[in-house]
Amino acid sequence: MSTLDIFFQQLANGLILGSFYSMVALGYTMVYGIIKLLNFAHGDIYMVGGFVGLITLSLLSPFLGAGWAGILVAMIISMILVGLLGVLIQRIAYVPMLSAPRLSILITALAVSMVLYNFVMSMTSGEYKAFPVDLGYEGLEFGNVFITYTQIILVSSTATLMLVLHFFISKTMYGKAMRAIAIDQDACRLMGINVKTIIAMTFFVGSALACAAGVMAGVYYGSIHFFMGFLIGLKAFTAAVIGGIGSIPGAVLGGLILGLLEAFGTQLPFIGSEWKDVFAFAILILLLLFKPTGLLGKTEIERM
């Protein structure tokens, strides 16, 4: 493989990894944008999404098969279910805390995270669960660069979901309300916007996207386990910060940048693939030190 081949292969690797990060980062950034909460349970929503996807797929596969049709239907059903779970968590854990200091709600989010992964751990006795799909590994070969059809479908479906989200936020009344609440909640209330409903809707959309990413991860990697949300939660948080937390295009951009940085970072001399997490989090630290608003974020004065 020539250097150019490696470059293109890592470019593809980075984009695929990055699209997972982007999907999860979107939920982070939307929730932060609207109620200034760093929802640390978001990574676990992704994990729960994977398991709900596994269950629905196992239930559906006798009727639809374990091919793409089955996966698509299972994914939509689990997105709705996990979206509702997100709303439920919000109602139970976050709504009562909205008027409390920011730190209290942050701790609540950590507690929700623990509840979720411990619940799944006890349900699965900590085992790895295999996803009942096997899409094979046929693909396109450009010289030495190899991209499977699964990867192509995966990246295009994340792109589609992001476009739908973009349309929802910028073109619908609900999206407009979301953006308005992010700017000034009290003014929105005075204007007759049902703030509670819109916040719940934000959680629904964010959780559904994380669930989609979880199901895709299960389909793509082939196995899921109770702890898989932890690392991706931190990575998605990093991605959201890179892009500028609270900014939706920023989350997508941040996710892709992080994916690419990880892929290319491991190609540096003397840095093996075991260093890729160090790479990601070193960038988070540097960014928080020197440009805490991220690439597309706005400067605002925040009192914690």
């Binding site: 292969q9 590994y137 693909g139 190899f146 491991t266 693939s273 075991e274």
Partner: protein, 371 residues
């Protein structure tokens, strides 16, 4: 009254101990079994005990040992060094001529000194840490291969597959790193190349960068030394990236779950395993007899335990006496004894002279013995 009965009890038990010491004359000979029968490893321990007792029954049914009937006594080492010392002392005080067993290496280790002082030979059936080799005062005979042997088996497989260069991937913890470094050393000592020596993080899902690195170095084979969960993902992603060379994995990944997760990508993957019943053609009768007697399938170390007892009997016959030194000499002189888990001979260090690791390969989504 109470004191009197107590005294009677004491004298009775004393008499028992004394007669136990001299019971050889009465047409019986005592062999000790040291295994864990309590604690987290009790299942495997009891399984070993059952296998040893099965061997004893067979020997007794065919006339016993030098005309004497074998009786066994079990010491529970609980996979714990302190308990093991107590168990060994108990066996020694009961006057056993030899011991078969040893499951947890950590528990077997401190007992070697006791057996050495009492001059009681022990056939170590399962324990296989290299630490036992140095601590052995010349009485422990290890019939399970040590960690080095797996690397030998791996090197032999790669050679026979015509592999010239390999990539080794481990997970950075003691077990897999150890195997990886031994394999690297042996492979290079055989004059071959290790083109990539990589580490992954536990719990990692995406190995695409690593896979690209490996692919760019064009190894003929990839050797994964850690466990099945990450191993399955690595195999899948190697195949997805278009890697079509040989893939081999260490015994830590020997699990049906690996095939379940990796799916079609697992096809053709090699794995090294201890000789378990499923892969030993010679153990078919043993497995059937075991099932008939205990109504459960024999477990992972049952074949080695069975072989251990049979080997001991064979050595006693060759020695022609129950004298410890004679038995030790006969054991050491063992020349390719045909056990159901394979032939047994010993090195100068009293370890198994060959690697007893078998090579498996995935065929039609199942582990099959590779010939």
């Amino acid at each position: 009254m109470l004191r009197k009965s107590f005294l009677v009890l004491i004298s009775l038990s004393l008499a028992c101990v004394l007669t136990a010491g001299s019971s050889f004359a009465a047409g019986e000979v005592k062999v000790g079994i040291m295994i864990p029968t309590t604690g987290g490893t009790a299942t495997d321990g009891k399984d070993m005990e059952s296998a040893i007792k099965l061997a004893v029954d067979e020997i007794n049914a065919s006339g016993g040992l030098l005309g004497k009937k074998i009786v066994t006594t079990t010491g529970d080492d609980a996979c714990d060094p302190q308990q093991a010392v107590a168990a060994a002392s108990k066996l020694i005080s009961e006057g056993v001529v030899a011991v078969v067993g040893g499951y947890c290496s950590g528990a077997t280790l401190p007992t070697l000194k006791l057996y050495g002082e009492a001059n009681v030979p022990i056939v170590i059936a399962a324990s296989n840490s290299t630490a036992l080799v140095g601590a052995n005062p010349g009485i422990g005979f290890m019939i399970n291969s040590t960690g080095d042997a797996q690397a030998d088996t791996a090197v032999a497989l790669f050679k026979s597959a015509g592999v010239k260069s390999i990539a080794i991937v481990h997970m950075g913890e003691a077990y897999s790193e150890d195997l990886a470094s031994i394999a690297k050393q042996k492979w290079e000592a055989a004059g071959n190349k290790v083109v990539a020596y990589e580490v992954v993080n536990k719990g990692e899902q995406d190995f695409s960068s690593l896979v690209t690195t490996i692919k760019s170095k064009r190894p003929d084979a990839v050797f994964w030394t850690a466990y099945y969960a990450e191993g399955a993902l690595l195999i899948k992603q190697l195949k997805q990236a278009g890697y079509r060379g040989t893939i081999a994995i260490g015994d830590g990944s020997n699990s049906p779950k690996l095939i379940e997760i990796a799916g079609k990508a697992a096809e053709g993957v090699y794995c090294f395993s201890n000789p378990t019943v499923d892969y030993l053609p010679a153990a078919k009768t043993f497995a059937a007899d075991f099932k008939a007697k205990y109504d459960v399938a024999p477990g992972p170390y049952s074949t080695l335990s069975y072989d251990g007892m049979k080997l001991l009997a064979d050595a006693v016959k060759r020695a022609g006496s129950f004298d410890a030194d004679a038995i030790k000499k006969a054991l050491q002189a063992t020349d390719n004894y045909e056990g159901i888990a394979g032939p047994i001979s010993f090195t100068d260090k009293l370890t198994l002279a060959r690697s007893n690791f078998v090579t498996l390969q995935v065929k039609d989504q199942k582990w099959m013995l590779h010939q």
